[in-house]
Amino acid sequence: MTAKSRQRLQGLLFGVAFGFLLQKGGVTRFDVIVGQLLLEDFTVVKIMLTAVAVGTVGIHWLKHRGWTSFSPKRGSWGRNAIGGMLFGVGFALLGYCPGTIAGAIGSGWLDALAGGLPGILLGSALLAAAYPWLQARVFSRGDFGDLTLPRLFKTNDWLVIAPLLAIIALLFFLLERAGL
């Protein structure tokens, strides 16, 4: 097996695990995602922040051991804030995101397959067409490159990770106490 096909097979298997988990977590359902955005059902926030807490500790430990490396995405206010808000509106209207829609299609949601999927492909193609224009005028506004929180606060990784974990734990405690 070539290196390329081994890499692709790994992607497929990781995807099976990821999709399985998302479906069992309930976030491949429109009702759960829109419930989160209406602040009635906190499943999405609980899954994402637990993944972030566990993931952050693990990948930074791996990085400090020299076993892996990663490169934070570059960004700008023009790119991440405006694009993020547009994404948010689409998120509320569609009720799935690009990852969970794959799981929604697999678990038989026909609005995801017949409406959402062609929509995402069309939206991606439109962005590709507008890319040179946006790149020249919008994407460079408020550019901060590949800045990370530790560099922003001029401290080491663990002094960012420890308070982050504490905030996530506090939020979970408050959510559970409020019965959400």
Binding site: F14, K24, G84, V89, L110, D111, F172
Partner: protein, 172 residues
């Protein structure tokens, strides 16, 4: 193996497992979990069916090549994984209109399909504008402590909460 046939698992268990999964994708494949780039690559492959090799010359597709890669197969795998999970718990849907939508806007499939199409267009456009989605920025980027990802994730949810309030509380 009763737990495999349960419809829902605890969100904390699922989240922790996704966190562990993200260690292994970095360690084994040197890739972070992410999804939306694959939709852009697919859009390029479809465009190529109509416009031929000229598509590869577009500035966007010179950076995001319309080809099958690790993440593209990850997304295919996700369809299969979710199918298996739903099959094991008898949770396969075959439904056009989700309950929350039906409660707000009725059970007719066409309005739901049009909204899903419009939402999908904004989602595809916005995710490529922001250079990531709820997994690439929201999970993988935030755990790398990237400023771009934290801003994106906050805006995904701010925009989503505002739009959901408007759609399901004001319009409906």
């Amino acid at each position: 193996m009763n737990w495999l046939s349960e419809v829902r698992w605890s969100p904390y268990v699922v989240g922790a497992a996704i966190g562990v999964l993200s260690w292994f994708t970095l360690l084994v494949s040197r890739q972070p979990l992410g999804c939306s780039t694959s939709f852009a690559r697919t859009a390029g492959m479809i465009e190529r069916l109509f416009r031929g090799r000229k598509v590869d010359e577009k500035p966007y597709y010179r950076e995001v090549r319309p080809e099958v890669d690790w993440q593209w197969l990850l997304v295919i795998g996700m369809v299969i994984g979710a199918f298996l999970a739903a099959r094991l718990s008898g949770d396969l849907a075959a439904v056009w209109v989700p309950a929350r939508w039906a409660a707000a806007f009725g059970t007719a499939p066409l309005p739901r399909l049009l909204a899903a199409l419009a939402g999908g267009i904004l989602l595809g456009f916005g995710s490529r504008w922001a250079d990531g989605c709820t997994s690439g920025h929201g999970i993988s980027g935030t755990m790398q402590l990237a400023v771009s990802s934290w801003i994106s994730a906050c805006c995904f949810f701010s925009g989503g909460i505002l739009a959901a309030w408007f759609l399901y509380r004001v319009v409906a």
